[in-house]
C-alpha cells in the first residue's frame, strides 16, 4: 500500500514566537530569538547564550491531573499540539471516536530527573517526589502525557535520536501512514530549555561564547562561527492520509513525499559527509525526484565549525548542478536539538505557504565549503514547490525529509 501522506495541522512554541503567526513574522523579518541567561554563570557554564522561550501558563487551561505530569518540554508540546489540532479541525470528541497516533521526538527530561534526585537525596523519602515526577522524568514524557490529554488511541511512542529526533518522528509517521498502518498521527519534537539540560553539551566546548552580541552569535555557514546556541520549545506536525483529509474536509497544507535516513557508522560526535549524502540521496529516491527539482534546503547547520563544513560539502555534492537556495533557521532560533527536525518542518512549511525563504541571518563571509552553496543571507520572495529539510544527530544519525506544496485540488 502506498498512501499519500499530507500535513493537515501545524503548531509551534519557540523562541521565535508562541504561535504560527508570530513565528511566520519572525522568520520573514529575520528576528533572532537568542539572549543571555546570566544564571548559567553560577552553574559553571562556558556559554551563557540560549534561546529565550516563554513558559506556557496552563493553570485554568487543562486540569490539575493533566498538568502535574507535564515536564517543561511536555508543556511546550501541549501548546504546539493544541494549535496544530485546531488547524487540523480535530477536537476531543473526534479524537475519542477515531484512531489517532502520536510519534514525538524527545531525548531528555533532565530538569525533572535532576530535581527528583535532589529531593530524594535531601528528604530520603521517595513519596515526597509527588505523583507527577515519574511522568515528567521519562524520555517519553511528551507522548505519555499528550496521548492521555488528547485521548489518543493509535500508535504511541517517543523517538529518541539526538538532534534528529523530531525529523525521524515525522519520517516514521509518514511511513506508517504511507503503508496503511495509521490514518492520522500527531508528530513533532520537543526540547527543554534549562541549565540542567545542556551542561554536558556546554562542557564539550560546542557552544558559542559571543556574549557581547547574542543575536549575532548563531551564524551557520559563516566563516567566523564559533559554536551553536542551545534552544528549544516544541513543534507539532499532524500527518494524515490524503484520503482521510479529503473525507474530513481538513485543510491540506502540504504533502510529505520523501524520507531518507542513514547512520554514519563512524565517530560519535563528528559529522560524516558520506553519511549525510546517503540520507539526502535516499530522500530524493523515495520521493522519485531529482536534485534539480528541490527549490529550497533548510539545512541542519548549527553554527559549529565542523558540522556546518561537512553539511556544506554534502549539499554541494548532491546539489552542485542546481544550487537551490539554502538557509539555516538555526541562525535565528539557535539549535532546538530534539525539537529541531520538527520545528524546521513547521518553519519551512510556513515559508512555503507564504512564498518566502527565511534568511540565514549573520551569514557575512563564507568559508571554503559554504562558498559553494547558494545561501539566502536575506529574506527572498520565492515560490517553493518542493523543499528538503536536513537533521543530523550525535551517534551519526541522519534524517532528510522532502515536502511538496499541495492544494486541495491536487
Amino acid at each position: 500500500m502506498n498512501n499519500r501522506v499530507v500535513i493537515t495541522g501545524l503548531g509551534i512554541w519557540s523562541c521565535l514566537g508562541k504561535n504560527l503567526e508570530e513565528v511566520k513574522n519572525s522568520l520573514y523579518t529575520g528576528k533572532s530569538g537568542i539572549g543571555i541567561d546570566k544564571g548559567r554563570e553560577s552553574w559553571g557554564y562556558r556559554s551563557l547564550l540560549t534561546g529565550i522561550v516563554e513558559a506556557p501558563q496552563l493553570k485554568g487551561v487543562i486540569d490539575r491531573r493533566a498538568r502535574v505530569g507535564l515536564s517543561e518540554e511536555a508543556e511546550y508540546a501541549y501548546m504546539a499540539t493544541a494549535e496544530a489540532m485546531k488547524e487540523a479541525k480535530m477536537d476531543l470528541d473526534w479524537m475519542e471516536k477515531n484512531e489517532v497516533g502520536i510519534l514525538y521526538g524527545n531525548d531528555s527530561s533532565a530538569k525533572a530527573v535532576s530535581e527528583a534526585i535532589d529531593t530524594i537525596r535531601e528528604k530520603k523519602d521517595t513519596t515526597l517526589l509527588g505523583s507527577g515526577s515519574i511522568f515528567q522524568s521519562m524520555n517519553c514524557t511528551v507522548t505519555m502525557n499528550l496521548s492521555t490529554i488528547f485521548k489518543l488511541r493509535g500508535i504511541n511512542f517517543t523517538v529518541s535520536a539526538a538532534c534528529a529526533s523530531g525529523s525521524h518522528a515525522i519520517g516514521l509517521g509518514y511511513l506508517m501512514i504511507k503503508w496503511g498502518l495509521q490514518k492520522h498521527i500527531i508528530c513533532g519534537g520537543a526540547q527543554e530549555v534549562n541549565p540542567f539540560a545542556f551542561g554536558s553539551f556546554d562542557g564539550l566546548g560546542a557552544f558559542s561564547v559571543r556574549h557581547n552580541e547574542p543575536t549575532k552569535a548563531s551564524r551557520p555557514f559563516d566563516k567566523d562561527r564559533d559554536g551553536l546556541i542551545p534552544s528549544g520549545g516544541a513543534a507539532t506536525v499532524i500527518l494524515e492520509s490524503y484520503e482521510s483529509a479529503i473525507e474530513r474536509g481538513a485543510p491540506i497544507i502540504a504533502e510529505v513525499v520523501g524520507y531518507g535516513f542513514s547512520s554514519n557508522g563512524q565517530h560519535i560526535s563528528n559529522s560524516s559527509v558520506e553519511g549525510q549524502i546517503r540520507s539526502l540521496e535516499m530522500a530524493l529516491s523515495d520521493a522519485k525526484l531529482t536534485a534539480a527539482q528541490i527549490d529550497y534546503i533548510n539545512a541542519h547547520a548549527t553554527s559549529t565549525p565542523g558540522g556546518d563544513f561537512a553539511e556544506a560539502q554534502a549539499i554541494d555534492n548532491v546539489f552542485a548542478q542546481s544550487k537551490p537556495l539554502v538557509s539555516s533557521t538555526k541562525s535565528m532560533t539557535g539549535h532546538e536539538c530534539w525539537m529541531a527536525g520538527a520545528s524546521e518542518i513547521v518553519y519551512s512549511t510556513l515559508m512555503m505557504q507564504n512564498n518566502f525563504i527565511a534568511p540565514n541571518i549573520n551569514f557575512e563571509n563564507p568559508d571554503e565549503a559554504s562558498a559553494k552553496l547558494n545561501i539566502a543571507a536575506r529574506t527572498c520572495e520565492k515560490n517553493i514547490d518542493l523543499y528538503l529539510s536536513n537533521s543530523f544527530g550525535f551517534g551519526g544519525t541522519n534524517s532528510s525529509l522532502i515536502i511538496k506544496k499541495i492544494t486541495n485540488k491536487q
Partner: protein
C-alpha cells in the same frame, strides 16, 4: 498552631492544589469525592502535608479518613504529637 489555624491552612491548600470550590469544603463532606482524588492524588496529598506541617504521612493513615473532619482531626493529632515529641 490552633485547631482553627490548622483547618484554615488545610482548606487553603486544598483549594489551591486540587482546584476545588471552597464552598464545597465542609466538615461532613467526603474528602475523596469532593476533591475527586485518585490513587495518584493521595501521593500529592502526602507531599502537601509534609511541606505544610512537617510530618510524614504513611499510606495506611488514609484508611480511616473519610470526611474533611476526619482529615482535620488526623492532622491536628499529628501536629500535636510533633509538638509533644
Amino acid at each position: 498552631m490552633t485547631q482553627e489555624e490548622i483547618i484554615s491552612k488545610i482548606n487553603e491548600f486544598l483549594v489551591e492544589e486540587f482546584e476545588v470550590d471552597s464552598e464545597k469544603i465542609v466538615p461532613t463532606a467526603n474528602l475523596r469525592e469532593t476533591l475527586n482524588l485518585d490513587s495518584l492524588d493521595y501521593v500529592d496529598l502526602v507531599v502537601i502535608i509534609e511541606s505544610n506541617f512537617g510530618f510524614k504521612v504513611v499510606a495506611e493513615d488514609f484508611i480511616g479518613i473519610h470526611t474533611f473532619q476526619n482529615f482535620y482531626d488526623y492532622v491536628n493529632r499529628k501536629v500535636g504529637e510533633k509538638v509533644n515529641a
